[in-house]
């Protein structure tokens, strides 16, 4: 247990901050601490969590992606058009088309980074602009509202009326989100490819000397990010019941902040799925709580920013640096000699 906590300090700190936040919100509002509100938070966060686990894989391998949210918009739009051309389609075709386009866009990023040696932040800021520019140019900013009926119908796996008359619902986006999390967790921690991604992000030269296929690392990480972006795009279209070209614009920074908040290291080699989930939930819970407390929506961004700052400071700084009086003699000596 001690090892588990030491190995996942960031995650546990985040969990602790979240518990404090939840207790505070429960005392401040009477509606926060209800099961139906918990399910609300999950439903709202599902798309961002799918994005986050995709981004996690890129971060672990030492890259970064800024373009995934607008890539998801491109996926939504093309998928909606393709389904229309197919005469409606169904869920299976929707997932295949969205996933394939997402992977394709991810591979473009990988090729720019690997073949042209452009650092990933520059490459993906470029593709962010190119994807978004092309989308707005060809769509002229027009939204699609006449989506196939199956796509906009809510899919509920489990629902129940609570004693107080509120409803709890387990919807498709949440189930898909859970599957994406499990798949990503399995890939990064149970397969050899996952360990190689960590190794490559941690020490690229060491990985190269070990004979790891560097090209494969790029294509797999960005390809996985693309797949998750495609799925998230489809889920967003399902959830919003419409395709708005600029609806996801700006999501990338929220997701990036939440992922790093969850312990993924910019620079590679570190990060976990559970951390991602906690990071996104942390932001969602804050917004949800502020909503319930009746705080002006104009203040949201400011408060969310502050919460992220506090959480990241607590989880990354050494406690004895923040509060020197807590430092024991042994930690002090360790600090000076290593």
């Amino acid at each position: 247990m001690r090892r588990l906590i030491l190995g996942h300090t960031t995650e546990f700190t985040l969990l602790a901050v979240m518990v404090v936040l939840c207790v505070g919100l429960s005392l401040a509002t009477d509606r926060f601490f209800t099961i139906s509100n918990a399910f609300d938070v999950l439903n709202v966060s599902a798309v961002n969590i799918i994005f986050a686990v995709g981004l996690l894989v890129v971060l672990i391998s030492g890259g970064i992606d800024i373009s995934f949210a607008v890539a998801a918009s491109v996926v939504q739009y093309i998928t909606a058009l393709a389904l229309g051309a197919l005469g409606g389609g169904n869920w299976a075709e929707g997932f295949i088309i969205a996933g394939a386009i997402g992977i394709g866009l991810g591979l473009i990023n990988a090729a720019l980074v690997y073949r042209l040696h452009i650092i990933s932040i520059v490459a993906t800021i470029s593709t962010f602009n190119i994807f978004f520019g092309l989308l707005m140019f060809f769509t002229k900013g027009v939204s699609i509202y006449d989506l196939p009926e199956w796509l906009t119908t809510r899919v509920v796996f489990f629902e129940r009326e609570m004693a107080d008359g509120s409803w709890i619902e387990l919807t498709l986006p949440v189930v898909v989100m859970i599957l994406c999390c499990l798949a990503t967790w399995f890939m990064i921690s149970r397969t050899t490819i996952g360990r190689q991604l960590y190794a490559f992000g941690d020490n690229p030269e060491g990985a190269r000397r070990f004979g790891i296929n560097i090209a494969a690392m790029h294509y797999i990480s960005f390809g996985w990010m693309g797949l998750m972006a495609g799925i998230a795009g489809l889920m967003q279209a399902h959830y919003a019941e419409e395709v708005v070209p600029n609806a996801l614009y700006g999501r990338e920074l929220d997701v990036l902040a939440a992922t790093v908040l969850g312990g993924a290291r910019l620079g590679g080699g570190k990060g976990s799925v559970i951390g991602c989930v906690l990071g996104v939930l942390m932001v969602s819970i804050t917004q949800n709580g502020l909503n319930l407390m009746g705080v002006s929506p104009f203040a949201f961004k400011m408060i969310v920013g502050a919460i992220i700052l506090i959480a990241i400071t607590l989880s990354s700084a050494r406690i004895d640096k923040l509060f020197p009086f807590l430092a024991t003699d042994s930690t002090k000596r360790k600090g000076t000699h290593q």
Partner: protein, 496 residues
Amino acid sequence: MSDEPLLSLKNIKVTFGGVRALKGVSFEVNPGEVHCLAGENGCGKSTLIKVITGVYKPQEGAEFFFDGKAISAMTPTLAQSLGIQVIWQDLALFGEMTVAENIGFQYAVNGKYGLVDKRAIEEAARKALSRLGVSIDIHLPLKELPIAQRQIVAIARALVGEARLVFMDEPTASLTQSETDYLIDIVRNLSASGVAVVFVSHRLAEVLEISDRMTVLRDGALVGVFPVEGMTQSRVTELMTGRNFDSSVVAADHDDAQVVLSVRGLTRATEFEDISFDLRRGETLGITGLLGAGRTELALTLFGMHRPQAGEIAIEGKTVKFGSNRDAIRAGVGYLSEDRLSLGLNQPQSIADNLVMASLDKLLSGGMISPVKKASVVSHWISALGVKIGTPDDPIRTLSGGNQQRVAIAKWLAIGPKILILDAPTVGVDVGARAGIFEIVRKLAAQGLAIILISDEPPEVYFNADRIIHMVEGRIRATYDPRHLSLTELESAVYA
């Protein structure tokens, strides 16, 4: 030892773009032997290792035998499958991963069905570590281990690959004496279990202690193969450099000279305590002690980067309180950092830019850096310190360790210092180039500069300082005059 050599190379020639890196070298290693490959930087040691591991192809006419079998074309994969492993100086380990994952990394790459077999990894890690006779918690993240233990992890990783011949490239460069001793024990264990070890090192003392035989290279050519028994450090240095360095004590009295730096009761909790000494014009004060003795911490405080909690520092009789190292630089204190690669020099930048980094305000002309002043400062110091360069605009990383160190010293001389603190100035510098660095130090002292020379190698302070302070756990244990004790006495005091 069997008569048949494990590895036998003859007539190895390698040419890079017209430069002959290896000029027909032969090299032999016996099974289970500890062999030393010695030579200065650029003598062809690493080229030879890369030929043996299949990274470079030798030219026509080379003979290559491993375990009695002729190898016509070596490749990195073939080298690995034959059990030839290299532990690189920079270790190539993964900091965020656990010890077990680092050691058993090949199981993480070649798992069955593409899945990671955690048990196989931990099993392999335990086996490798127990073979080395060490116990390290295999679940710890590597980055939490001290550098010496990381070295052991790297060795353990080589063992997982059924190593028969292990090259260790500068394995002790960043280790203290006791850690080096520990590593040497491990190398002995390895050799006793039949693994041949080739030790590549600058530190001659340990080479002489551990090896059975040594192969010396100079300028890409074989100088010879020598039994280590009966070899002395100065003989090895002579073989490596082709020159003869006589070391003699240079200590002299400076009692009449003006006191430049006076330190009284300087204390920083957990770092050092009650440090007092005087440093006079033209004097070189050596500070030695093991890693963790507080040498670097003391230097950083004298350089204004840390604030003392008690005691005082006076420069030329005036008490000073440095708010930052900018104040210290203004007061005439220069500090040559112990880590030249990452702290002392800005590797991608040019030689000229590095050289003037600390003295930019002296180059101003109407608020702008004057290119004329800059060029004259740069050319002055490059010729004064005998730095061998192409042009001053080349990136500093293109220079050898010794030449980089000269530029780093010039950087501080350009501020016109009264006091120069040299922290481990010979780390990563060749034996031949070391002598050059100390020549500069002596010349500077003769010109009246007060110098503090910090080193964990007692001979360096013994032969180059006027007085030696020996620090133990943050306190001054003793002050020695090199004229009144032998090097052996100093060494046994330091390593006691």
